[in-house]
């Protein structure tokens, strides 16, 4: 009697296993397309590999004309459009990257080392014009160019710049990161706040007295 019941139990266990394996397999098979549905750029059956970054293509546009940035600290906002490959009816998705072009009072070496990684050679390496992405490298808000540094002290968390930095600054309303666009060593240096790095920069060239931006440093969510 005892033996019989124990075999029965074993048989039940076996049957359970026989059913469980295909069910689990089917579930796993279902999970893959589901994840691919949520994030289309994951390659098939390759869910555990690092996801391929969604490489964007941008369209060159005129950010500002030189006459608009005649004097030191002049600036101009613009919006750069990026297209990402996507499984949408259009086959792509667009994201806008707001930017700011700034005229500095002196020439600096532009931080364009990232260009090699995307296979481009920066046309301008040293300039008194610098073009930043306005997407805050902290958590992605759009930060502001603040021509009067006192405004930074009043509205952006009480940062008082030391005398040599008392000029136009860039400040983010979200978590009060403050950047110096004109720092000679690290343009866009973080002066205060939680931002981990300076804002990303644009590649640009001068065509017919116009500043044409062609590419933006990859990374961050637009």
């Amino acid at each position: 009697m005892n033996e019989a019941s124990s075999t029965r139990v074993r048989r039940r266990g076996f049957l359970k296993l026989v059913t469980a394996v295909p069910v689990a397999g089917a579930l796993a098979a279902l999970a893959s397309p589901l994840l691919r549905l949520l994030k289309p750029n994951v390659p098939k059956f390759d869910l555990l590999r690092p996801t391929a970054p969604d490489t964007a293509r941008g369209e060159a546009i005129v950010a500002a004309s030189l006459s608009e940035l005649r004097n030191p600290w002049d600036f101009k906002y613009f919006v750069f459009t990026q297209r990402y490959p996507q499984y949408t009816p259009q086959g792509f998705k667009t994201a806008s990257v707001p930017g700011v072009a700034v005229r500095l009072p002196y020439k600096i070496r532009l931080p364009l080392d990232w260009a090699q990684a995307i296979g481009k050679e920066p046309p301008v390496r040293e300039s008194d014009i610098i073009v930043f992405s306005r997407i805050c490298p902290h958590l992605g808000c759009i930060y502001n160019y603040v021509p009067n540094y006192r405004e930074v002290t009043a509205g952006y968390g009480g940062y008082v710049p030391p005398p040599q930095r008392q000029h136009a600054l860039m400040a983010c309303p979200c978590h009060l990161s403050i950047y110096d666009p004109a720092d000679r060593d690290v343009p866009g240096r973080v002066l205060s706040g939680p931002a981990p790095r300076p804002p990303r920069t644009f590649l640009f060239e001068i065509r017919n007295a116009e500043i044409v931006v062609t590419d933006v440093e990859p990374g961050g969510i637009a």
Binding site: N41, P50, T51, S96, I142, Y143, C174, G193, P194
Partner: protein, 377 residues
């Protein structure tokens, strides 16, 4: 091992007390009205939410306008929307208060572990539901809150080993449905917002069907009273819609819903990786408290360390909320002070705990009076 786990779960499940439904005897104490109240507010939120779905349009172009129309043109639309918003606030408030009650009264101790963990999970889900819900309004606050929240996981990719898998960006991408907030984000948030509440409600209903417990263990009076209160609040303080989202302009100052304010101030103070890890650790602590706290007593002063941690959490919540409301943060100075202060207090609390335990051990023979005496310090 497996058997033990199953026994553990079975025992806890028998003592599961999600909405304080077994504590009938304490109905006169408002702190024990929180459970049924939680369920009641939740029900109101779900019902009004389903009604709102009739008029709401989940598109980037139409969302804000449809909310305005609900507020202005739809007959009693303002009331439905007000009830939805304030009942949802009520849900969060009652969960928070209830969690604090359970914490300070040691209700998470055996056999309450599972109840506590489910309650805590409920708070997290309610907050997720809250943040996905307010993107749907498609106003400035919503837009920027969603944007910053979804950039936080990206920084997880900086973690040593696990970071290389790129799961952080993947989480962000899955919620955003693309490289930026757009139509896909609204659609996904809509689904999540609606899914969390409704699916949970169905699960809870199944649970109550099977255990035949009472869900709302209150008399009629509070039921009517709280509904009237919600109606009055929605009348005098109509749910606001703010300004339409503008992806090119960040407002200054920017404020989120009240239960995220403290977190917001915290994010100002810390490097971005910690903005994600800090709350994660807090959640981890919350979920594991029942297993970390091995002390015998249930009253607050019988476990000094955990008591101090709880009080500090409460104080920081209030202090940070106040700071952000007045837009105060001197970022070069404050994190340093706060960290040191926290460290010192934690060490002191730990010493207090050690001393308390030593005393208890030496005064072991007559346990009851000694415990009371030591707790007085």
């Amino acid at each position: 091992m497996w058997e033990r786990l199953r026994d553990w779960v079975r025992e806890r499940r028998e003592h599961l007390n999600l909405f304080d439904e077994t504590l009938v005897a304490r109905q006169d104490n408002p702190m024990y009205l929180l459970g049924p109240l939680l369920y009641y507010f939740w029900l109101i939120t779900v019902v009004t939410g389903v009604v709102l779905m009739i008029w709401y349009e989940p598109t980037t172009a139409g969302a804000y306008t449809s909310i305005e129309r609900i507020q202005r043109e739809v007959p009693l639309g303002w009331l439905i929307r007000g009830l939805h918003k304030y009942a949802a606030d009520g849900v969060i408030l009652t969960i928070i208060l209830r969690i604090y009650r359970m914490y300070f009264l040691g209700e998470y101790k055996k056999p309450g572990e599972l109840s506590w963990m489910l309650g805590f999970l409920g708070l997290i889900l309610a907050m997720i539901s809250g943040i996905t819900g307010y993107l749907l309004i498609w106003n400035q606050r919503a837009f920027w809150a969603a944007k910053t929240v979804l950039t936080v996981p990206v920084y997880f990719d900086e973690l040593p080993v696990i970071g290389r898998m790129g799961f952080g960006s993947m989480i962000a991408y899955i919620f955003l449905g693309g490289p930026a907030i757009g139509q896909a984000t609204i659609t996904r948030f809509y689904a999540i917002h609606f899914g969390i509440s409704l699916v949970l409600l169905i699960l809870i209903e199944v649970f109550f069907q099977r255990t035949r417990r009472k869900r709302i263990n209150m008399s009629l009076l509070p039921i009517v009273l709280f509904l009237a209160m919600l109606v009055v609040i929605s009348y005098i303080l109509p749910a606001e819609s703010g300004r339409r989202a503008d992806p090119t302009r960040t407002p200054l100052p920017i404020l989120s819903d009240w239960y995220f304010l403290a977190l917001y101030q915290y994010v100002k103070y810390t490097p971005p990786l910690w903005a994600g890890l800090g709350p994660g650790l807090l959640i981890g602590y919350g979920m594991l408290v029942p297993f970390l706290d091995r002390s015998k007593g249930r009253r607050p002063l019988e476990r000094p360390f955990f008591f101090v941690v709880g009080v500090m959490a409460l104080l920081y919540f209030l202090a940070f909320t106040t700071l952000i409301l007045f837009n105060i943060a001197v970022i070069e100075r404050e994190p340093f002070i706060i960290m040191n202060l926290t460290a010192v207090i934690l060490v002191l609390a730990f010493l207090w705990e050690l001393r308390y335990r030593r005393r208890q051990r030496t005064a072991a023979p007559p346990p009851a009076p000694a415990a009371g005496g030591a707790a007085g310090h």
